[in-house]
């Protein structure tokens, strides 16, 4: 008897709570993986703005992108999704769209004129069947070369503009006793370096044909082999203790004057900022490649799990509004190290590197879609295995590497 009374009381309380919650306050549970200091400061901008707009932000941060995405997908499939959930711009949520697990936000996109203010490649990466299925919130450039201005000046070299120049500069830097190129020796970062070489030395078309088209003939072409050869030559610029190193430790080598150059995405700026350095002074950022260099862009999006609950739909609409508000965009991206996804936001108050990003992206010819936008994770992963084997086996021939790339393409098809 007592038990039943208690249970019914709980049930009543629960019903009251959820009932009043839906009416009185707009509660949004947000699942994301922004857990580092800079990242959580950035996501707090969203949370504060949403609170200001009258909502209640329930933060659900899960460390590690893969973990967070797995949790989100499990909850969506299980029918208890968060209000919105983070993904990377690109193909990660393709199957969620085809299984009707996420909601399209096309109506909001039309009123907000998203297609006019966002870069074409980001729009294409978010639109499925002519409809927006996610809200992009930022643009990350993935192939920046960060360099230590003092070490380059000491060795008498200019920031390299092409990869042959970079390799030549490597010898001079080595003579000075510094590590020419700092690399986080984990498969992800070796693969990131490879893509920087592919787009810089091989060009945007080659990059798209390899990652987007997965064209086996292109992989066997002379140009691709040349790229592989240049990539292989970079091994000589990296110190032997690189394997297993974290990317932030690699960036730290540049900060502490031990290494001269480091390829990374613009998120690495956070490390320099934390060390009290500012762009253009202690360190610089540049794009390496033929014809001024192209910027490989990706970023983050939020998807909105499908729901029939009218109140939740209204909350989701409000979230979208907050995410893309120009002021929020500016403040969020300053903290995040990326640049606003809206190219109509004035970036004059951002740092030099961010301004450079925005300027480069003004010309659509400079925008190259990141791997995440072009290829499904299964192929990206298989490529990563091929690249890390090639990088770590100096004895492996270019042809053997091409063979592995072709195999990865065949398997992914």
């Amino acid at each position: 008897m007592r038990l039943t009374t208690r249970v019914s009381l709980y049930a009543l309380a629960l019903a009251l709570m959820s009932g009043s919650g839906a009416q009185a306050q707009q509660k949004a549970e947000v699942l994301h993986w922004w857990t580092s200091a800079g990242e959580s400061a950035a996501v707090k901008v969203f949370a504060d703005q949403f609170t200001k707009a009258g909502g209640t932000w329930v933060d659900n941060a899960i460390a590690g992108g893969a973990n967070a995405r797995a949790a989100a997908i499990n909850r969506m499939v299980g029918g208890n999704p968060p209000t919105m959930s983070q993904f990377n711009t690109g193909k990660q949520f393709d199957e969620l769209v085809s299984n009707d697990l996420v909601r399209d936000v096309e109506a909001l996109a039309r009123t907000g004129k998203w297609r006019d203010v966002m870069p074409k490649s980001i729009v294409e990466a978010t639109v499925r069947n002519g409809k927006f299925y996610a809200v992009p919130v930022n643009i990350h450039g993935q192939n920046w070369l960060f360099y230590n201005t003092k070490l380059l000046a000491d060795a008498g070299v200019e920031p390299p503009k092409t990869f042959p120049e970079l390799i030549a500069a490597g010898d001079k830097l080595k003579a000075k006793g510094v590590i020419p190129l700092a690399l986080g020796g984990q498969p992800t970062w070796e693969h990131n370096l490879f893509r920087a070489v592919l787009v810089g030395h091989g060009g945007a078309d080659l990059f798209r044909k390899i990652y987007g088209g997965r064209d086996q003939a292109t992989a066997k072409s002379a140009k691709f082999k040349e790229v592989a050869d240049v990539f292989g030559k970079l091994r000589a610029l990296v110190d032997p203790a690189s394997p297993g190193r974290n990317w932030n430790d690699a960036a730290n080598l540049v900060i502490t004057n031990k290494a001269a150059m480091h390829f990374n995405g613009d998120w690495a700026k956070g490390e320099f900022v934390a060390a009290g350095q500012s762009p253009g002074k202690e360190y610089g950022c540049t794009l390496v490649g033929e014809g001024g260099g192209k910027l490989v862009i990706g970023g983050d999006v939020f998807v909105f799990p499908a729901t029939k609950d009218k109140a939740q739909l209204a909350v989701q609409d409000k979230l979208v509004e907050v995410l893309l508000d120009p002021t929020t965009q500016l403040e969020f991206n300053k903290k995040k190290g990326s640049i606003p996804v809206r190219l109509d936001v004035d970036v004059a108050s951002m740092d030099v590197c961010a301004q450079k990003s925005a300027a480069v992206l003004k010309d659509p010819a400079n925008q190259v879609e990141a791997m995440e936008l072009l290829s499904p994770p299964s192929f990206s992963g298989a490529m990563q295995d091929a690249v890390t084997q090639y990088w770590n086996n100096p004895g492996m021939s270019v042809d053997a590497f091409v063979e592995k790339v072709v195999a990865a393409m065949r398997d992914a098809a």
């Binding site: 893969a66 973990n67 995405r69 797995a70 997908i73 499939v77 990660q92 393709d94 199957e95 969620l96 299984n99 020796g185 984990q186 498969p187 110190d239 032997p240 203790a241 690189s242 394997p243 297993g244 499904p376 994770p377 299964s378 990206s380 992963g381 298989a382 295995d385 890390t388 084997q389 990088w391 770590n392 086996n393 592995k404 195999a407 398997d411």
Partner: protein
């Protein structure tokens, strides 16, 4: 209602009326075991069946229920990384189990010599086991890193040609995992074997001494056979550690340099969660299951099936 059913089994089990027929006392026991049995059946066996089924589909991010035959297995056995993983787990398995047993036995024998401060040593040797594989991995990563750890230390002491770069060396990296694993697991093996040693009759030692048997011979030919059940326990515990080897590798090398220290469990995890390739991941998991069963089956047969058959 629920409290009523819950009260029956303890009452019946606590005071089984003497002389009654067995089936009546068995019913409550069966009831009490039912939830566990259901969990095992649905969660463990069910998931295994589900995993095997998925390995015959083309599932990527979400499970699909089509049928592609053995296509995923064909891919798997043409995948460099999986083949390297399989080879690595063999190397690790053999060296890790053997290393832990030998080192653990020696430590146990050492402690069994009535050394002073036995408690201190016991704690010291068992301590690594109290650490998670992640902590172990990171500590050994730092220690073996040529730019930070042992190599730098020895070089700073003046031996500038000293080289110990196994961690970043493709051929040797897997052995650093073995070293860290043994460091972690030897203490547990020691504790198990020490418990066994304490159970060995002291008179045996006296008898052996009268016969003039040297100590090493005594331990090898008399004590070790007596410790057989303890050794089996240790091997089973260590073997489960081999199969699930994942966190140590992730913390220490992330599978690198290149793919030199990849292991099957990491292959499965990466393909399930990072690469949206459920089908290939479950295929690899199925192969792991088959491998474990084929190792266990002869042992289970010898241990449980055959003796029973003989008795009957």
């Amino acid at each position: 209602m629920s409290s009523a059913t819950l009260e029956v089994p303890p009452a019946a089990a606590a005071a089984p009326p003497p002389g009654r027929r067995r089936p009546r006392t068995r019913l409550p026991a069966a009831l009490a075991l039912l939830p566990t049995a259901l969990v095992v059946l649905v969660v463990y066996v069910g998931c295994m069946v589900w995993t095997v089924r998925l390995s015959f589909t083309s599932s990527s991010l979400l499970p699909r229920s089509d049928w592609v035959g053995f296509a995923q297995y064909w891919r798997l056995f043409n995948n460099d990384r999986f083949l390297t993983s399989a080879e690595n787990i063999l190397i690790f398995g053999v060296l890790f189990v053997a290393g832990c047993l030998i080192l653990g036995f020696l430590l146990a024998v050492f402690i069994d010599q009535d050394v002073r401060g036995e408690g201190v040593f016991r704690t010291l040797f068992l301590y690594p086991y109290a650490m998670s594989f992640v902590v172990t991995g990171i500590a050994w990563q730092w220690f073996l890193n040529p730019g930070l750890g042992l190599q730098k230390l020895v070089r700073d002491m003046g031996f500038s040609s000293f080289t110990f770069d196994w961690l970043v060396n493709q051929q040797m990296a897997i052995y650093t995992i073995v070293i860290a694993g043994i460091w972690h697991g030897a203490g547990l093996t020691m504790a198990i074997l020490l418990a066994g040693l304490r159970g060995v009759d002291a008179d045996l030692w006296k008898a052996a001494r009268i016969d003039g048997v040297p100590p090493w011979r005594y331990y090898l030919s008399v004590v070790l056979p007596l410790l057989r059940p303890m050794v089996v326990t240790a091997v089973v515990l260590l073997a489960t550690g081999v199969v699930k080897l994942y966190d140590l590798v992730v913390a220490m090398t992330l599978g690198g340099p290149g793919i030199a220290t990849e292991v099957p469990a990491k292959f499965v995890m990466d393909h399930l969660f990072e690469r949206n390739n459920i089908a290939l991941g479950t295929a690899a998991a199925t192969i792991m299951l088959i491998a474990v069963i084929s190792v266990l089956a002869p042992w289970v047969y010898a241990k449980y099936v055959r003796p029973q058959g003989r008795q009957a």
